[in-house]
């Protein structure tokens, strides 16, 4: 009995001591967190770090983002971003893998906001992830920038967005731009075929492209479209099926390793000698084809990114710094990630906040803004000021003496390739691009 009593007293003492220590620690940690939060701004960065999209897209995007974050913290960016930090705060980047699908990404988003206590989130290559995360970001009232995903449904499904922004163009711009480039450079092409990955991105891209072709090149006939599985890798049968239809142009929205594999196989099989490939995301292979794409292959970079970046202080700094660090010029995913980080710095620096800007202050600063970036001046002019309007560029691949370059580059203004507010993108194309200005 005495032993039990002693044990009870001992347990109570231990419990109260542990509670005191825990409370004290929590207090200290709380103070530490507060102090930490005051001198840094925490941003979650979500990109593919594993799976098939990581190598060509996710990792270059991560590298581009880190490069800009480091330069922001050191204050070594060119003007107008030459001040140290964002609104004077050190920028801390928490990276999350985008692999796993939309359900997992919604969980990861909640983790970032509720457990990691990030002040903003930048990310998302997959359109499915953007569609899933957008409403959650609005619900959680957290400033969020989609840097790459291309679905035109993003702002169609988000009514009156307050916290979600996209600093790149959507897939409609890619494909209207592609059709305009064909109409301008190959107006006599009559037989058009396609090969797209069999999921939303590929299906939407082909739909937008064929609708635009009906308007811009009504004489051209769509002879075939192949829909291989994403990450299939081998396209022998699809190439045969395309060859039997004798196309003059082969449109493809395939990206990354799939796109590069298709080009290498189609070139070896002679398809690309019979037809010209039009690759809407082909810029990511510009410095990787190594001559495996024939000269004259049409490449897009989803806007003025990667090899299509205009010459300005920011793009020159970014290209030089990226190549020095990673041994290759930045591809378009790297540039787009860099642009999103610059948008965050612009919003924070212009938020007039004292200390860490709130999501509301960041959103108010970026909404409808025009900010300088590696791609030139970005106009957040669509979706009520939440979506960037930028030019769409296409050019032809040329490889000579071991060097790849873009030739015959043509630029189409944002108003020429993007549906104005209030329009469903497909209806806008079907009605003949009302309100578009291509001068």
């Amino acid at each position: 009995m005495k032993t039990t009593q002693q044990r009870t007293i001992w347990q109570k003492t231990l419990l109260s001591t542990a509670t005191s220590v825990a409370l004290a620690s929590a207090g200290v940690m709380g103070l530490a967190t507060t102090a930490h939060a005051q001198d840094s701004f925490k941003v979650g960065f979500v990109t593919f770090l594993s799976g098939g999209a990581s190598g060509p897209f996710g990792v270059p995007a991560s590298q581009g983002a880190k490069l800009v974050v480091e330069a922001i913290n050191e204050g070594t960016l060119p003007a107008p971003y030459d001040s140290v930090g964002v609104n004077g705060l050190q920028l801390e980047m928490v990276e999350v893998d985008e692999a796993g699908g939309p359900t997992k990404q919604v969980e990861e988003y909640r983790n970032l906001v509720q457990r990691q206590n990030v002040n903003a989130v930048i990310g998302y290559i997959s359109s499915g992830d953007c569609l899933a995360v957008g409403p959650v970001a609005e619900e959680m009232q957290t400033f969020t920038i989609a840097f790459d995903c291309g679905t035109s449904r993003m702002f169609e499904e988000l009514e009156d967005p307050k916290y979600v922004f996209r600093t790149g163009l959507d897939a409609v711009a890619d494909n209207v731009g592609a059709a305009r480039y064909l109409a301008e450079t190959r107006p006599d092409a009559k037989r058009i075929a396609g090969i797209q990955q069999n999921y939303a991105w590929g299906q939407d891209s082909w739909q937008d492209f064929t609708l635009a072709m009906e308007q811009l090149m009504p004489e051209a006939e769509i002879v075939n479209n192949q829909t291989p599985q994403i990450f299939q890798g081998s396209y022998g049968t699809e190439i045969s099926a395309l060859q039997t239809r004798r196309p003059e142009i082969v449109h493809s929205s395939m990206w990354g390793g799939d796109m590069e594999s298709f080009v290498a196989q189609a070139n070896a099989r002679g398809l690309l000698a019979q037809a010209t490939a039009l690759l809407t995301t082909g810029e990511s292979g510009l410095h990787r084809f190594d001559g495996q794409a024939p000269n004259g292959t049409i490449l897009g970079g989803r806007g003025p990114f990667g090899g299509f970046m205009p010459e300005n202080d920011l793009s020159e700094w970014f290209s030089k710094a990226y190549e020095e660090k990673h041994g290759t010029p930045p591809s378009y995913p790297a540039s787009k990630a860099a642009q999103a980080i610059l948008a965050l710095k612009y919003a924070a620096d212009n938020s007039d906040a004292d200390g860490v800007p709130s999501s509301e202050e960041l959103a108010a600063a970026l909404k409808g803004a025009k900010f300088e970036s590696v791609s030139g001046t970005v106009n957040m002019g669509l979706a009520g000021g939440h979506q960037a309007v930028q030019p769409m560029l296409y050019g032809e691949y040329h490889f000579e003496d071991g060097q790849a370059e873009l030739r015959n580059v043509k630029s189409y203004p944002g108003d020429c390739v993007s549906a104005p507010d209030g329009y469903n993108a497909q209806e806008w194309i079907k009605e003949g691009f009302p309100g578009s200005s291509c001068d």
Binding site: S54, P56, G236, E238, S240, Q243, T244, G256, A264, G270
Partner: protein, 299 residues
Amino acid sequence: MLTVWAILIDGFIYASWLFLVAAGLTVIYGVMRILNMAHGSLYALGAYAAASALGWYYADGGDQLWMAFAIIAVCAVAIGAVTGLAIERGLLRIMYGRDEILMLIITFAVLLILEDVMKLVWGTTPYFAYQPYAAMGRINIDVLTVSRYDLMVLVVSIVIGVGLWFWLERTRIGKILRSIIHDREVSKAMGVNVGRMFTITFMIGATLGAIAGGITAPIISVVPGIGIEVIVLAFAVVVTGGLGSITGAAIGAIIVGLARATSIHTMPELELFIIYAVMAAVLVFRPHGLFGQAVARKI
């Protein structure tokens, strides 16, 4: 008529690749009753090893096609045999006798571990070793062209299929393996070193997976995740043909290959669906696959 020829040529070429990918999986299951999910990783390891070695060879000024094939063969056999030995001796050996489902989960864990190991070793940047594929050229049939490299894959696949048949049906080790397949315990009682036979079988199955990856490397862009994509297809083929049957894997690959080629040439939007539709249709009428045998459960 051109489309019919295209379907036949493409169907058999794709079937040969499917058989290469599935052969090792079905050999291991046939002898060891292990559904080796890590087979996809062995395929990916073979592809990475071959692609990086070919990259060095061509970057160093190499241009001999026979040398490229020698590099693919040596890399694939070496990495397949060594990894297979490590997995079997280091992990599976202590798990023998457990439930088939548990073994499946264990090999799935190995698949996930190896996926990350590959990322650590090779990173996430795609590897491109197209030179042998491009150098072999093509044969023209009207507007249709057939890659000589693809035809070589078909020949390699036939050689490996005949070789496996000969090994299992005409050699002493093959007879011993068949006795193990029939009754593991009686074979042991008759003096067969079952453990050693398992090691040999797993190494051969693993090497076949790596060879499939090595041969595929010049056709594709080698990226993280290719092993996981391939294992799903390989399962569809071996389940259609009958788990554990080499003949079944060959017939299953031909059926799936021809069905897929027909779909791509006539109804491309059904390409994904058709492979699994064929598998489902076969399983409705033959639940153990075309050449699979129902096994009585020992009590």
